[in-house]
Symmetry: C2
Subunit: 588 residues, 2 copies
């Protein structure tokens, strides 16, 4: 902050590096829109308003042509790994949409590579014009008793991570664990208070009344799992920053924003985040620019919509002197936009440099050389075969009754159904007619090599298998299929790719996406990845899958942290009991 | 924050210690007023709204009788030493007015006793129900080149002080020194950023345009020297928290609040502070309760007026999860008040205990035993005599032309006039007809024992002398009089009292107030002190002084930090040049 160049430019003693003139300042502090410009020194804003005094011969001057000058957008809770883009490619994809800062825990990267991998990813991100603020994961994996991850984080790692200057808080502070006073989490919370960072919650949507009070009393600053207007009202009244999700799966902005538009509550603690946004939506629909449009559709005024993706979000991280507004000393993150009647981002300045015009990057970002630890992270002891995929049954069994996990579109909660399945050749057979399919999770970090097996309903595949190495909260290989041989082939293909997504039919790979970075990410550009994923989704649909995002939903099937059921490398997991239960209920 | 009792009460597993029911919640987060109560566990709030579930047999229940439940008030920039009350007595006086937190640098205490005395004062304050947050002084004294103080603070002390858990920021960050990049201040600013605390500014009122931009670019969070609506608009647009002063001397709320009421700017960064409030005003007019009334008079709505003395103020210190609102986990600081139409505080809860009803303390606070270093701080080498008070002149001089500092009511700036004075018996004589009086500042910390001498106009005394040990930014003895013998008598009397205020006429002390704690404070209660000060003011008025607050204004006459002139123990000081100049312009 103590930048002599910045101060001299602000004083008018030295020309600005960049000046945007003839714009309309969208002031999120005062809720005004008025004519003016912005003068930039290095990465920071030196002056806002009448900036003629700061312009010299060496100043690059941009005529905004009357466009609005809006603070760079902030996605205050997101998991960039959901896009499958490496940090540089992710930065490219969101910068062209006007997003200049994101807050993330890089939790998925930590699941595979632990704190070291997270630090390496943060370092890669720091080389881009996008600012990635680190919200330290509160623990990895979610439930070590019933799943195997590559990386591990507990309170001792949290304490270390909080020392990073880019660390701004503790992420995904689980409501249930707070209320039950889980000792390791309490240690992380204490360390966070001590480091003067803030707590960012992951309270269940149905947390209300006394449990919500108990949760908030721990000092939680924000929450991003609010589904209804009533719940938003309750949480805002409790002083929480309500981060309304508007991503690929969760669409909470509509109901939650009624707290403002219908109930008339003040909006200072209302913000919008994506949480989960896949690359298809990012490329075809947009990022926070789309969120602004959605907020306008919901009846919020232009200034409020802008505040909800800038100042309101950053205040809960205590970053309001750094980002989220146009004022001297803040990062020069500025969007040139049309106004609220026909909103779009036409140019983006990040860290004081023009990075995008009309949805195109000024120049692609350099791709860093990744650390060795990012690569070759899939470690299977041997190729898998069909028998590895099948749940063993007694030799004489002819039918079994199984418990199948039921997935639901648009909501990440699972339930279960029971169904009878035939046994042939010693293997339980899929029932495609009633949509009861086998699912396997194969430990891939080289820890146990174990395979967890169970059943799923909701995927509707009538043939083949789909597989992925994106599987919360362990990122093992998850595969669903109609035939064990196809399932094994799909898993083996992903092992060869060192991670990714694929679809196999009749023993043949009919579509894939390689994600060789930690088994999670690629250095391909966003448009290429989006096209491939679009095609993979279509292939799954062609196989009968009715789900809009089969792979994304599959990644939550393995999450032993959201009720009621999950499949992990240990088998079928009852989330409530945090224990492995038999997927076979009875044998006939 | 990790308080198992609090969590159990919030969950309804254990009864609350205190519950206020049948109230109207004034919610500063959502800007709503709705029926409800507050349940308290220990010092914190466990639940807000419907709190019936938290009430058990052992719960003390207060029926609010439909009164408003308002967060405890916060004075976000104040110098408690201006009341001359010791920390416990100050806490009593402001708690009965509904103030439950103050932010202060205890700068005056530091001027006499340095960082050790500040820490001792903070420790005394911490034993009261009032929360005193420490904003670390950026340096003491203001200008060591031209004044002598007892204590000293520079960036090395700042670094140490910032480690205190109650340290929330850096105080009085001087605009001129920031813009000129004064090296020691830059070190303190860097240390503050590093400790994740915020910078609280003291920019001159006329700082605007480029200089304001430069100042804000250093990361300044708040400012408390804004005098006009235009200036308030400019500072709010620059993202500053504008702390409008409404104290004994500065009355900025009226003009500055027009930024909201006339210009229509958002109020989230508008707050009100007292800065300087003397005990007479505190006792007779009030503290933040009076500020709320004033805000209502200026046309601000009730919710905004309350926000301006609660949430808005604390956010810039990053204390919004601790104080400033009624929500679980926050300190149980609650006022029971009437509504905006006839506003008054009827009861106050601080740290979970009822401390005041109807303007009376429930019980006086215990007075701590002060550390030895608080006492006997006046160290004069010998009693003073009339000759010590008089500026030497050549033996043959008959008349001298002097430069006299001109004090102004309500504004702490000084100017100067020139005047001719007769010399009799080798001494320059006061000219009471034209109100040109001698003034002396006597070094009293036992450092030099020096006496600075000059002249003043504006005090209008027609006889006697007035003296004080409250003298910014050095707290030496300052004395103004019509006769040197009375001046010496007044100074000697204060030395005997070990500090205080007094008035001498014809060699006799006609009124005094002993301030034996650091020469600044007393353990007498607020009403007694106010009555004494009132009487001293009246005595000064009877001697001809036209100033409403002669002693308070005299304390700024010695401040070598505000233009244009000051008197210190070194003599007449030109503030702009930061140098001592001759008070005698010519000798005849």
């Amino acid at each position: 902050m103590l930048d002599p160049h910045l101060m001299r430019v602000a004083l008018g003693e030295r020309p600005a590096d960049l000046a945007i003139v003839n714009g309309k300042i969208v002031n999120v502090y005062t809720r005004e829109i008025y004519p003016g410009g912005v003068a930039v020194a290095g990465e920071r804003i030196a002056a806002v308003g009448d900036v003629a005094y700061a312009i010299g011969e060496r100043t690059t001057v941009i005529d905004a042509g009357g466009r609005c000058l809006v603070p760079g957008f902030v996605d205050a809770h997101t998991h960039p790994e959901d896009t499958h883009l490496s940090p540089a490619r992710y930065a490219e994809a969101v910068l062209v949409r006007g997003t200049t800062s994101v807050m993330t825990d890089y939790h998925e990267i930590g699941v595979v590579g632990g704190p070291t991998a997270i630090e390496a990813a943060l370092d890669e991100a720091a080389q881009t014009p996008l600012k990635v603020y680190f919200v330290v994961p509160s623990h990895i994996p979610f439930n070590p008793e019933v799943e195997t991850s590559g990386g591990v984080m507990d309170s001792s790692h949290v304490e270390t991570a909080l020392r990073r200057p880019d660390a701004v808080g503790l992420s995904e502070v689980i409501g249930k664990l707070v209320v039950e006073q889980y000792p390791d989490l309490l240690r992380s919370i204490a360390a966070t208070h001590c480091a003067r960072r803030t707590l960012h919650g992951h309270g269940p949507p149905d947390m209300r009344g006394p449990r919500l009070n108990a949760y908030v009393s721990a000092g939680i600053a924000s929450e991003h799992q609010t589904l209804t207007a009533d719940s938003a009202v309750e949480r805002l009244r409790a002083g929480l920053n309500v981060m309304m999700r508007e991503g690929t799966l969760a669409k909470n902005l509509g109901p939650c924003s009624k707290a403002a538009t219908e109930y008339g509550l003040a909006t200072r603690n209302l913000s919008v985040v994506t949480d989960d946004l896949d690359v298809v939506d990012l490329v075809t629909v947009g990022h926070m620019d789309h969120v602004v449009l959605r907020a306008l559709e919901e009846g919020l005024d232009f200034l409020t919509a802008i505040q909800m993706v800038t100042l309101n979000a950053v205040a809960s991280y205590r970053l309001d002197l750094e980002i989220g507004g146009l004022a001297p000393g803040r990062y020069a993150d500025i969007n040139l936009t049309t106004d609220g009647s026909d909103f779009r981002v036409e140019a983006t300045v990040a860290r004081g440099r023009v990075v995008a015009w009309n949805g195109r990057l000024v120049a692609p970002l350099p791709l860093p050389r990744h650390p060795e630890s990012f690569l070759r992270t899939l470690r299977l002891p041997r190729p898998l075969c069909a028998d590895d995929m099948a749940l063993p049954v007694p030799g004489a069994a002819r039918r079994v009754r199984v418990r199948a996990v039921k997935v639901l579109e648009h909501i990440r909660l699972t339930s279960a159904v029971e169904a009878d399945l035939p046994v042939e050749g010693g293997r339980i057979q899929a029932d495609t007619a009633r949509d009861i399919l086998p699912v396997c999770v194969i430990e891939r970090h080289g820890v146990t090599g174990g395979v967890g097996r169970g059943f799923v309903t909701g995927y509707g595949l009538r043939g083949g298998a789909i597989a992925s190495t994106i599987a919360h909260d362990n990122h093992n290989i998850v595969v669903i299929g109609t035939a064990y041989a196809d399932m094994a082939a799909a898993a083996n293909h992903l092992a060869r790719l060192q991670g990714g997504l694929c679809i196999v039919r009749d023993g043949r790979v009919i579509g894939d996406l390689a994600l060789p970075i930690l088994g999670l990410l690629t250095d391909e550009d966003a448009h290429t990845v989006a096209a491939t994923e679009q095609r993979l989704n279509e292939l799954a649909h062609a196989l009968g899958c009715p789900l809009r995002r089969p792979f994304m939903l599959m990644s939550f099937l393995t999450l032993a942290g959201i009720p009621e059921w999950a499949i992990t490398d240990k088998g079928l997991v009852s989330v409530e009991g945090a224990r492995v239960v038999d997927a076979v209920v009875s044998v006939d």
